[in-house]
């Protein structure tokens, strides 16, 4: 089955497709649960957007008002400095001028968003190493990397924790029958 692309589904959710395309998409949706789900998602998002605009933390409205005010101020300032006999410029919002203007607006909006957002706070810096006694022996972990088993588990082993960064295990060795103390350290010796 050939599925409509995301743009078609999004336009369909907003009722923005032409009659024939809309009929074709509706026909496909009647048979395709995946695309129906996709369209439902777009519809939900559309319903949510007006609410987002009113969220006090983001202050979209204040930002828009400030941008409008700045544009008006710029226009009025231009009127003040323009001499009467100065020829009116030709349609100015074309070509590279339009590109520069759009880029400026993007930078300004981006800057506002950056300033509005609170600085991210690192909650937990996990650059740590650890050794841990477990029933299967001693586990070593460096940072967020996977853990490595160090020292094999032994029956009835007694583990010794040294607060400076090593761990030992005392056990009766099955092979020799002798008391054996094995130690691993993550200190560089």
């Amino acid at each position: 089955m050939r599925h409509p692309n995301q743009a078609i589904l999004a336009l369909h959710a907003g009722g923005d497709l032409g009659p024939f395309r809309s009929w074709l998409t509706a026909r496909h949706l009647a048979r395709c649960a995946d695309c129906r789900e996709e369209v439902a998602g777009y519809t939900e998002m559309r319903e949510l957007l007006p609410e987002l605009a009113e969220l006090p933390e983001i202050s979209w409205n204040r930002m828009a008002a400030e941008i409008k005010a700045n544009v008006r101020l710029g226009l009025e300032a231009g009127e003040c400095v323009r001499t009467a006999d100065m020829p009116l410029p030709r349609a100015s919002m074309t070509g590279w001028r339009a590109a520069v203007a759009i880029a400026s607006v993007v930078v300004m909006v981006g800057g506002c968003l950056m300033l509005e957002r609170p600085a991210p706070q690192p909650v937990h810096v996990a650059a740590e190493t650890s050794v841990e006694s477990t029933q299967d022996g001693v586990q070593f972990q460096a940072g967020d990397d996977r853990a490595f088993g160090l020292m094999n588990g032994a029956q009835k082993a007694v583990y010794h924790l040294d607060a400076q960064g090593s761990m030992g295990s005392r056990y009766i060795d099955r092979e020799t029958g002798a008391v054996t103390i094995a130690t691993v350290s993550y200190d560089v010796q």
Binding site: E128, G177, T183, S185
Partner: protein
């Protein structure tokens, strides 16, 4: 034709996968292990078997799962009472150095003894054919407490302390035998086995380099922990007095323990090891570990004071549940003087403290002798005690 190409690709990918798996887990050959003993070493390697040892690739690291069986011979003229082997997969890698210490040895000149190395080490992956594991001698302790070896792992102190504990506990059992005969000795051995069996299990985790922002600390522990003062057990004949100490306790975490100690003796001290016992909400106590003065620069002149501390965080759990630490108790476990002599608590000190009897495991020698009784019976135990 297309299908044939696809099949070929699948077969090729499968072969590559199998080859990769094989390369990730391979037996450790005897040529991968190097035994580096000095020319004047008091021991010699008679036999080395890599057994089921394997090297397993884990990402960029190689895990060596070692199961080495060695036979060593005493080629010196003294009786050997302890040997520590240093096992190195990489000197400057975390998790790259381990050791195996066999206490309770009593090996005469010319006699052979077995050592089994069962441990895991890590090292970075390498493609060259050089040995991936080096077995060095860190130290040999003789009957007269003289020592041989480079002592990179402080095995002189560890083995001397162990030997002194062994002498202490053998003497105590001999006294029991002399006073109460065979029934009293049997009773003493049963008590050792019962203590070993009843030992409360606690899992510990040492965390280094933990850095928390205030927000992170509050998220983990809203009350940011509390500064808990250590309670102390005092031994009348001890050369070190514990003055004051504290650790930041937050739930099952103990952070940055620090204890101020005073040297009561007339000799300089170069190492102090403090044992610490944790008591939880329900009143159960656990031997948590040791706080050693591992700083090589640590020095405590005669009649002076110093502080033993670590910046590490220690976490404890029992039966898979975090331990709720209510109380911390410290005691002096071991002292090494500048002249190399070592002090350990006397049997009387240990036996007169119910808390220590409850949480401290039997010594290595007690465990060895109790195991001998279990495996070979009472006559073998008596014979063993007569040897010393």
């Amino acid at each position: 034709m297309m299908f044939s190409k696809f099949t070929n690709r699948v077969v090729l990918a499968g072969l590559l996968g199998v080859a990769t798996l094989l390369a990730q887990d391979a037996p450790l050959s005897s040529s991968s292990v190097s035994f580096d003993l000095p020319e004047d070493s008091p021991i010699a390697v008679m036999r080395a078997d890599t057994g089921t040892s394997r090297q397993i690739a884990r990402g960029a690291a190689l895990v060596l799962d070692l199961n080495l069986s060695l036979t060593l011979r005493n080629i010196s003229s003294n009786r050997i009472h302890g040997v520590t082997l240093r096992i190195v997969s990489q000197e400057v890698a975390m998790g790259g150095v381990g050791s195996v210490f066999q206490p309770g040895l009593n090996v005469g000149p010319g006699e052979a003894f077995p050592v089994h190395i069962s441990t895991k080490l890590m090292r970075p992956m390498q493609m060259s054919g050089a040995p991936v594991l080096h077995v060095n001698l860190d130290g040999v302790l003789f009957q007269d407490l003289t020592f041989y070896g480079p002592d990179k792992l402080h095995s002189r102190r560890v083995m001397t302390a162990s030997e002194m504990e062994a002498q202490r506990d053998r003497m105590a059992l001999k006294r029991v035998l002399a006073r109460g005969g065979n029934p009293a000795l049997t009773d003493a051995i049963f008590k050792i086995l019962a203590r070993r069996q009843a030992l409360p299990e606690v899992q510990g985790r040492i965390v280094r380099g933990r850095a928390l922002t205030n927000a992170g600390l509050a998220a983990i522990s809203p009350d940011r922990g509390r500064q808990e003062q250590f309670a102390f057990l005092r031994f009348p004949d001890g050369p070190i007095q514990l003055i004051r100490g504290s650790a930041e306790i937050a739930g099952s975490d103990a952070r940055a323990p620090s204890i101020e100690v005073a040297n009561l003796s007339d000799k300089a001290v170069k190492y102090v090891e403090l044992g610490w016992v944790l008591t939880d909400n329900d009143g159960h106590s656990y031997m948590a570990g040791a706080l050693p003065s591992s700083d090589p620069a640590f020095s405590l002149p005669a009649r002076a004071t110093a502080t033993v501390r670590t910046a590490n965080t220690l976490e404890f759990s029992t039966a898979g549940k975090p331990l709720s630490i209510q109380k911390v108790t410290g005691f002096v476990n071991q002292v090494e003087f500048a002249d190399g002599k070592v002090w350990v608590p006397s049997r009387q000190n240990m036996d007169s403290n119910p808390l220590l009897l409850q949480v401290i495991e039997p010594s290595a020698e007690e465990e060895r002798l109790a195991n001998l009784y279990v495996m070979k019976g009472f006559p073998a135990l008596i014979e063993e005690l007569k040897k010393y």
